[in-house]
């Protein structure tokens, strides 16, 4: 498995393109995209509980663009601290916040300010007071060592070119014994360098 980024891939351009696409998902979730979005997709394709999704604001779930389901990997428990890397408009983050309850914490990071605003608004709308969001990059998590019980992420880390750095950060912030519940892309075979250098194929 190639985890190193091709040396001639412009990672700043990639970050910019990713940020543009997902800002558009936040502001125009019904727009034209190469991936599915929304609560019906989450329930029908990925096994999310429709009732749990219906209890969240539409401005949160309409922009859901995950590709698997971190909540079905292992239970998220009351009192835990959960970090969602690339939380987007907050569907997974707010579901986690409900699971950990008032004695837990649900921390979301994203590099898209529009998405973070959506999370703040949605958390307030449903009365969740254990949610924090921070603008940050997956390769530099704004958290102390061993401060998190569970890291979740849904369809994000495949878009991070410096994967070794991102996973080193995940390992750093997890407490010993802590869990990574990752929802992301898997491939049948290793991609050639020409494919890995094509930013259009990274972003769709």
């Amino acid at each position: 498995m190639a985890i190193a980024c091709p040396v001639d891939l412009d990672t700043q351009v990639l970050r910019s393109e990713v940020s543009k696409i997902y800002s558009r998902v936040a502001t125009d979730p019904d727009g034209d995209f190469h991936f599915h979005r929304g609560p019906a997709y989450a329930a029908n394709f990925l096994g999310y509980d429709p009732a749990e999704l219906a209890a969240l604001p539409n401005e949160c779930t309409a922009s859901f663009a995950g590709i698997a389901n971190p909540h079905t990997i292992a239970p998220i428990l009351r009192g835990e601290t959960v970090l969602d890397i690339g939380c987007g408009a907050g569907t997974d983050l707010l579901l986690a916040a409900r699971r950990v309850g008032p004695s837990g914490r649900a921390i979301g990071i994203d590099m898209t300010e529009v998405m973070l605003d959506r999370v703040r608004g949605s958390a307030a709308a449903v009365g969740l007071t254990n949610v924090e969001v921070r603008r940050a990059d997956a390769t530099a998590l704004p958290l102390a060592d061993a401060s998190v019980d569970v890291v979740i992420s849904n369809g994000v880390l495949n878009l991070v070119p410096e994967k070794e750095k991102a996973f080193a950060e995940i390992r750093r912030v997890l407490r010993p014994g802590g869990r990574l519940q990752l929802a992301d892309i898997v491939l049948d075979a290793e991609l050639g360098e020409d494919v890995r250098c094509n930013i259009d194929l990274w972003t769709g």
Partner: protein
């Protein structure tokens, strides 16, 4: 999942796979490269260096 083990995680397993690109504009590209969504579990070891 060998890279997660290489990076120091234990108990690595793929828990489920999802055909998340079915019916999208990029379905044929996803099929070409065998792309699926997947649930992956891993754990930070209790004792680590």
């Amino acid at each position: 999942m060998s890279f997660l083990r290489y990076l120091g995680f234990d108990d690595v397993r793929v828990a489920a796979r999802f055909d998340c690109f079915r019916g999208t504009k990029k379905e044929s590209t996803a099929r070409k490269y065998g792309v699926l969504g997947a649930n992956v579990f891993a754990r930070k070891p209790m004792a680590h260096g």
